[in-house]
Symmetry: C2
């Protein structure tokens, strides 16, 4: 599906890399179940230096694929691929990596921690990466970044969660529950879950920016065209079973879980230097827990303040790109 974040893609100097795959055997899941075989999609840019100190991991956002991240990468871009060895990874359940839609039989429930574990195994077992200069990601990629900080603290020197969160709030849960319930209702009625996607994508679009931004962007007379685009995306976009799997993963996300629910203890477990990018008017991923963890653990915070909501990293890209590039360039 087309994403707001594609706004960041410039027509020239676009980094490009072919889709690669790693086959992970016996991927142990947080639930206790094991995936006997899980293919993980990824792409790489630049080269790992001799000391092995310049690797950056960037997992995908909700419903996203690695090709959508290429606009951020390149010489002179936010992440300088002349300097860094960048590995972008298709998060589990995105339809490229192992997912309900490409796995015969029943696909087990996955979590954000499972995505992170699959990425750790990809790096250490397949790519010879022994530590990360940085882990970063947008939205659900930012959730994975928060999870990385506490799950593999010794492995990560810097972390840049962008419009991500450390744990979901009731507002996030309401939104994802609405989308999930719409899919489940059609499944329960014996219908094709894809027919639920027009409702799901309308909700998603509603929450992606702020109403004010939507009103300014789309006059009421333009609504039929917007609706047509959503319906086309509903027909051709992400498989609703994958959509639901990633929704459930986000809904269970809470980095304080292994710390008895304590944000202080979770924050204390982090070794990485962190720049948390939050959008104060974000209606899709509430910034409350990111700000709370930043305050308790002393992270740097970049506040995006405009009315683009969750799309702020696109709308305020100049401000964000400069801050992130500077943060990554520090020794």
């Amino acid at each position: 599906m087309k994403s707001l974040f594609l706004l960041l893609a410039a027509p020239v100097l676009l980094a490009q890399s072919g889709q690669k795959f790693a086959e992970l055997r016996n991927l142990r899941l947080e639930s206790g179940q094991t995936l006997a075989a899980c293919r993980v999609g990824y792409r790489t840019y630049g080269k790992l230096n001799t000391a092995g100190t310049n690797a950056i991991l960037w997992p995908t956002w909700f419903s996203g694929k690695t090709d959508q991240l290429e606009g951020f990468l390149g010489p002179g871009k936010m992440v300088d691929t002349g300097k860094f060895y960048v590995i972008t990874v298709d998060a589990l359940g995105n339809g490229v990596s192992c997912s309900p839609s490409n796995t015969p039989g029943t696909f087990p429930a996955i979590t954000i921690k499972d995505m992170v574990d699959s990425e750790y195994r990809l790096l250490t077992e397949q790519l010879g990466v022994k530590s990360l200069h940085a882990v970063m990601g947008i939205s659900m990629g930012g959730m994975q970044t928060f999870q990385w900080m506490v799950a593999y603290p010794g492995f990560v020197r810097r972390a840049v969660p962008i419009v991500g969160s450390a744990k979901l709030t009731s507002a996030d849960l309401l939104l994802w529950q609405a989308e999930l319930s719409a899919i489940e209702a059609v499944q329960k009625a014996g219908g094709d879950p894809r027919t639920a996607m027009p409702a799901v994508l309308a909700m998603h679009e509603f929450a992606l920016s702020t109403p004010q931004h939507e009103v300014n962007k789309t006059p009421a007379a333009g609504f039929p065209a917007l609706l047509q685009t959503l319906q086309e995306n509903a027909r051709t976009g992400m498989d609703p079973r994958d959509w639901a799997a990633q929704l459930r993963a986000m809904m269970a996300h809470d980095v304080t879980k292994p710390f008895g629910g304590s944000m202080e203890k979770a924050g204390a477990a982090v070794h990485a230097k962190v720049l948390a990018v939050v959008a104060l008017q974000d209606h899709m991923v509430n910034p409350a827990s990111a700000l709370q963890m930043a305050e308790t653990a002393g992270f740097e915070v970049l506040r995006l303040t405009g009315d683009c909501g969750h799309g702020a990293p696109g709308c305020e890209s100049a401000k964000m790109n400069a801050a992130v590039a500077e943060f990554l360039a520090r020794p």
Copy 2:
């Protein structure tokens, strides 16, 4: 369904009135179709004075019923029933007045204008009301209030649309389309449309306030209880066919339609003195068109500024009630 606006209901001095009904014959609809018989529910408070100058009409909000308005009415309340003769009306499609759920066969599409026309006929044919001191309403009641101003300009001396709108924006349309699509998807799959209501009510709850307000009101640990309440409301609340009928009515709402789309011309048609109450952070009924019409036609505007969103009339009731009471009391 329980509504935020019930917060305004005080435990004492509550105005109470029994449910009444008027039978309207041959109600001509905006579509050109005619409803051979349409029962309209209403309640009355206070007494029409001899000069017939003290009547106030108050139609219900989306999915609301007249009993939910009683908290605003009474001696010393926002609308003083010692002084005014108040008629609250169940808007068409609300399950009390004629609606898909209580009409055999196919129920025709209804509009906000149809609601207004049914109210006009109730007042003039059944209650002997020849003009209104004021028409007022909240949310979809505010939409009806805007429609009243332009449809029966000579009949209305004052108008108080509260978090209503003159025409929908793309943001409103996205929200209602999401809810409507969720119901339609289940219907298309041959399921009971009521099974779509958990998704619809989660979406509705998400947009009713702002995420910030929701986060402060409901900690993440309280989400399961909130979800249970929504699921109970989904089982027992408004019939989804009525929900869809009122959604479609709102989605077609545009007071500029008879004026070639001109807000200036629509505003010029208004004779009433108007106090438009808007919530600047409203995520459910965008205030843009109310503000635009107010500016072009010189309405007074009361701005509610807090983070309660569409629930601001409840959260900022002290401010609102005083302003509305003062406006209504002017000669």
